[in-house]
């Protein structure tokens, strides 16, 4: 057996010591760990902002913060959760699992991989620091619509713009690395249609990222020029159009929505087949469904802006194309259910989160279908119904996918089993609080409560108090998750290589020891 060691004198004996291991590493597992911890820390920062929001909204009237600061909280909560939590967590999982799942020695471009990670703390450090500047941080919503983000923005918007540029560079470089790894580094015999679904989901996600992150860079560049150099992209006085901002932003934004859910589809597929002890039902239709969702995501963007004043033909086109997405998504939901059907199911923590994912993500999907209907959307637009919708797909959707994946692979990463009792406690507290938080938002939204306001009419008071209680319960419960993760890293029952009963046949990751060696597959395995 030849190994990497022979070609290089310094030798690959293991990780370097101390801080330099983390600053200068080129190892996919180290970088994956960095991504996951970064995302975890950002979850608590973005989460505390949500707590500020919910504390203010506990009662009608202004009690705790001023509207100006409230706006900064909603804006940064959104930006941090999207770009600082969900995306880095998925990239962290990809870094850890892709090379192992396809039988590769590491990511294709390891130094680039390190750069992709370290750009994120830089960008978010700057973004968060704007909150402490005299003018305050971004306050125009995470969608930063012009002219609120151009003509009427605080000057710190410039820090925001350049931070977004750097986040974009990070995502693009990371995605180039992932696509290259998947196309180039698969073990002999692993054809595309034999790839694990998590790998497939990331191949499609990375494609979407490379396609739309430059568009985001473009739109913030237009903002930069409008603010500082006198152009008129978003200024009708010069012949431009503020609505142009929304079109370009959502051309990025809608594929971005799927970037935040597709990898969760992959994770959940693995978990459901493992704990149902059946191979996934309809593997190829799962792949085609994800590809269809990705392609359709490029032609539905204007459903985010039905009320902005588009020609009727445009409204109809975007309504029907949006509804079309329900078909491949439905295929996936039915496939997950069919996988569980007549399986020998056990309900370990990752499985609980995955079943909750299927049920609650479907609720988010249905409310999305309601929002796609143009005349109905005129009523729902910018109300808490929209907030309920996208939190249902992002929290019990994307975040549950991540948490499920973490529980599923933690024994593989650390070599220790997590505490199943605590894991189940974490699940049930999370499951209850997430619904207490987000389900009543549907009702207040349909009754007309607008989003992004620090105050509301009195008739919404009861529901909002309930929502706030749920939100604090949800936030505190995640401290339990932190405790469980740390406890698992430090101690726990020794995990076997296959970890889960019968998982040995389900993927290459379960053929390695737990924890896997620092360099996973120095010689590529043969896949039958």
């Amino acid at each position: 057996m030849s190994t990497v060691v022979e070609t290089h004198d310094h030798g690959h004996h293991g990780p370097a010591k101390g801080l330099s291991r983390w600053l200068f590493t080129t190892n996919h597992k180290d970088i994956g760990t960095l991504y996951l911890w970064f995302s975890f820390i950002m979850l608590f920062i973005g989460g505390s902002m949500a707590m500020v929001i919910r504390a203010e909204l506990f009662q009608p009237g202004l009690q705790i913060v001023q509207p100006e600061f409230f706006n900064q909280m909603t804006t940064n909560h959104g930006l941090i959760m999207v770009f600082g939590v969900i995306m880095p967590a998925f990239v962290g999982l990809a870094n850890w699992m892709l090379p192992i799942q396809i039988g590769a020695p590491d990511m294709a471009l390891p130094r680039l991989n390190n750069l992709s990670f370290w750009l994120l703390p830089m960008a978010f450090g700057i973004l968060i620091s704007t909150l402490f500047m005299p003018e305050g941080g971004p306050n125009f919503g995470w969608t930063f619509y012009a002219p609120l983000s151009t003509t009427y923005a605080p000057s710190t918007v410039n820090f925001f713009i350049f931070s977004v540029h750097v986040m974009g560079v990070s995502s693009i470089l990371g995605s180039i690395n992932i696509i290259t790894t998947i196309f180039n580094m698969r073990a002999p015999g692993m054809t595309l249609m034999k790839m694990p679904l998590f790998v497939w989901s990331w191949l499609i996600t990375a494609y979407l990222l490379i396609a739309v992150m430059p568009v985001l860079a473009g739109v913030v560049t237009m903002m930069l020029m409008d603010i500082n150099f006198g152009t008129s992209f978003f200024n009708a006085a010069g012949g431009g159009d503020p609505v142009l901002f929304q079109h370009v932003f959502w051309f990025f934004g809608h594929p971005e929505v799927y970037i935040m859910i597709l990898p969760a589809f992959g994770i959940v597929s693995h978990i459901i087949e493992t704990f149902s002890r059946k191979p996934i039902f309809g593997y190829s239709s799962m792949v085609y469904a994800m590809a269809s969702i990705a392609i359709l995501s490029f032609v539905v963007w204007a459903h985010h802006m039905f009320t902005v004043g588009m020609p009727l033909a445009g409204e109809l086109f975007f309504m029907y194309s949006t509804m079309l997405i329900a078909i491949p998504t439905g295929v996936k939901v039915f496939n997950w259910v069919a996988t569980m059907f007549r399986g020998s199911i056990t309900f370990e923590t990752p499985m609980l989160f995955s079943i909750a994912f299927v049920a609650l993500f479907t609720i988010g999907g249905f409310s999305g279908l309601m929002l796609a209907i143009v005349p109905a959307d005129f009523q729902y637009h910018d109300t808490y119904f929209v907030v309920a919708h996208f939190h249902y797909v992002l929290v019990p959707g994307a975040l549950f996918g991540i948490i499920a994946g973490a529980y599923y692979w933690l024994p593989k990463w650390t070599g220790n089993m997590y505490d199943e009792t605590l894991g189940k406690l974490h699940f049930w507290l999370t499951f209850i609080s997430v619904n207490v938080t987000f389900f009543p938002m549907h009702f207040v939204g349909l009754a007309g409560m607008p989003r992004r306001y620090p105050d509301y009419a009195l008739q919404f008071a009861d529901f909002n108090a309930l929502i706030s209680v749920g939100a604090f319960m949800f936030g505190l419960t995640q401290l339990l998750f932190l405790f469980i993760v740390i406890k698992t890293i430090r101690s726990g029952k020794q995990a076997t290589p296959e970890v889960w009963e019968g998982a040995g046949d389900l993927g290459l990751e379960w053929t390695l020891s737990s924890p896997p060696p620092y360099h996973s597959f120095t010689v590529q395995p043969q896949v039958k």
Binding site: N27, V169, F183, F229, S232, G239, F251, L312
Partner: protein
Amino acid sequence: MSQQPYYVPESSKLPFAMAVSLLLFIIGASNTVIDAGTESNSYLILLLSFAMIWVTMYFWFKQTIQENHAGLNNPMLKDSYVYGMAWFIFSEVMFFFAFFFALAYIRNFAVPWLGGEGEKGLANMLWPGFEASWPLMITPDQAVFAGPEKDMSLATAYNSGGLGGVLGWLPLWNTVFLLTSSLTVHIAHLALKEGNRRKFNIWLGMTLILGYLFVFVQGLEYYEAYAHYGLTLNTGIYGTTFFMLTGFHGFHVCLGAIILTIMLFRSLKGHFTADDHFGFEAGSWYWHFVDVVWVCLVAFVYVM
């Protein structure tokens, strides 16, 4: 060949140095635009970050080249660089797409609606009497964004000087330069594949001359626009789209020219063999890419 393992580099300080450079870039660039017009030294941070980016890139590329020369790169790793470059160019395509998208939306929807045409012509009540046209010479609010006196289109060049006007139309010459340079860089590539180093250097040198000529003429055109056409970045949406599209393209031509210049120096130093020269090939792909963007620019910005 598959016996040689995939080379996974040792831990490296370069990526972290690059991340710190970009941190300084964010701080420097943001403070520079915020402090513009005041006495401030924040531009020095920006310049420092540029210097750090260049130095880091120099050492980074140097290291990868040395690894290749040391025989560490197996065929699979070489393919990784090929995939990486191809997808990087795709990301660049999408960056330009955003600006072409903006131009298309402005021309087909925003400006006509402001002028009272079409289903959303109601927008005309913002500035009653505003008439839509393209190139947009009179903006809706002339007091805020005074429109340009003259535009850069082929039609204007022809109308003002007939055939002579067309021959004096700078984008025509730039089209000739850039399209020819795409051809010369391809000939250079063929020469390299034959192992004919002298021929390669000559044709690559010609490519560079054409490339720098393009940049020079583009500069001339900008000078004309500012000095004689009253066409600036601040003259409403025509000036905005014109300068942003041609400007970003010109910036990418500069990048491509710098890449190919470095390739010429590398060739003079004896780098590249007939079957191992992806550094140059990636540069030539980039060059063809800026050429394609230019063709789109001529069609959508200058002619149509």
